[in-house]
Symmetry: C2
Subunit: 254 residues, 2 copies
């Protein structure tokens, strides 16, 4: 680190008014100069979505020494892109996203707006971390997660992260036994819709469901860690190429 205070970009997918981002901002406050650039309302499940045809707007909403906050009408990835392209005059030393209200372990990394933002930070070659607490409630207790976030941020500011890799950190409810480095649990969501009727009697489908774990005996994955009281840290790659399958695929006559 240079003598200059680290610059930290904070965003999330639950929106600027969520408790989780307030807890994260509080945990980061004395580590550097903070820019918060967050969606103006909830954007859960937005993955790496970008607004390709609607105009984005951003508004300064808070400013004090060391902390400047904006809200934006876009997705989490829009927030990161817009902040970095148009609102910041130097590259941040760290991007932190969250703290999400609810788990982003296992396959949920694909759908998560919290992780979308961290992945976008990684695209910009900024050390980036997404934090999630396994508690959906608006008034969830973020104390333990904020402490983990602070420790991780200090470590990443010091050590950096490899190019193309960001971190997906999930924390269980209650007291935690420690932090484990894990893989992304293989599995999928099942029973994904609740069918009901609208006011005119037409079918509508609401997202619901539960995660089906396909590798329950593996104590090296994030679902195991969370179920056993540990925070789970999965290093996430933005290069999705399945290198292992390339030799076989090259043999195909296509």
């Amino acid at each position: 680190m240079s003598n200059r205070k680290p610059l930290i970009l904070i965003t999330n997918d639950d929106g600027y008014h969520a408790k989780g981002i307030a807890s994260l901002t509080e945990a980061m406050k004395d580590l550097g100069e903070i820019i918060v650039f967050a969606p103006d309302s909830p954007r859960s499940g937005m993955s790496c979505a970008i607004s390709t045809s609607n105009p984005l707007r951003a508004r300064l909403i808070h400013s004090e020494v060391g902390l400047t906050s904006y809200i934006c009408n876009g997705t989490p990835v829009d927030c990161v892109k817009l902040a970095l392209n148009e609102f910041m005059n130097r590259k941040p030393d760290l991007l932190v996203s969250g703290i999400n209200h609810g788990s982003n372990a296992g396959i949920s990394v694909l759908y998560s707006g919290t992780m979308g933002a961290a992945i976008e930070g990684c695209v910009f070659n900024i050390p980036s971390i997404g934090f999630s607490l396994c508690d959906f409630r608006p008034d969830a207790d973020f104390t333990a997660t904020a402490a983990v976030a602070r420790n991780m941020a200090i470590k990443v500011l010091e050590a950096g992260l490899p190019s193309g890799v960001c971190l997906n950190v999930n924390v269980p409810m209650g007291e935690i036994k420690g932090v484990r480095v894990t893989t992304q649990t293989q599995g999928k969501w099942v029973n994904e819709y609740h069918r009901s009727k609208d006011g005119s009697g037409r079918d509508v489908f609401w997202m619901t469901g539960n995660f089906e774990n396909w590798e329950e005996e593996n104590d090296n994955n994030d679902e195991w860690a969370l179920a056993n009281g540990y925070a789970a840290v999965v290093p996430v790659k933005i290069d999705m190429t399945a290198y292992d399958f390339m030799p076989e695929l090259k043999k195909w006559e296509i």
Copy 2:
């Protein structure tokens, strides 16, 4: 393959009324029984986004022997999930998504709704392929891409794909020299916004930009293939774990 005709699920992100999905449907028509389940309007850049708080609706829009089509108010991933959870009574043998109007090579795989749908098919353990033509125009000529799509579909129906791997197929404009198996090009979009004013004089930001290639000398990546007249096939993994970085990360004291 069994004696039963293969069941093929088709979706896209440009919406049911796009030329690309009509071309893809035409190319698949004699390969099996077709279900089209597509967004009712364009959903470009939707990545793996899901609708977590808005109700989904679907409507039967076309039915003939061997071809049934629905439109849905959700994202591409919503379409795949809803079709598979609620509208299909057996698992498809193949999912094809596209043909997208515009490239989804390089880092665009992260933002692409076309690839979001293919990735979701892969989550369901269905052999899945996303197809894109490097031509954004609504009236683009999909002839060559449709031929590639047909060949790839026949091959994948026959050989399958490994669990957790789908294919991202991009095709250049004009005549193609052949098909190459490639990696996802490293790089990012730059100059991503055009700033203008709304009717009240306030700043608005529109997505634009160009892809900056960080590995121009590599003839093994998708951007190279496309620039040199080849269709590019990238095998894409849904497990994003950065296994290579795990040993180092485990040494951190966190």
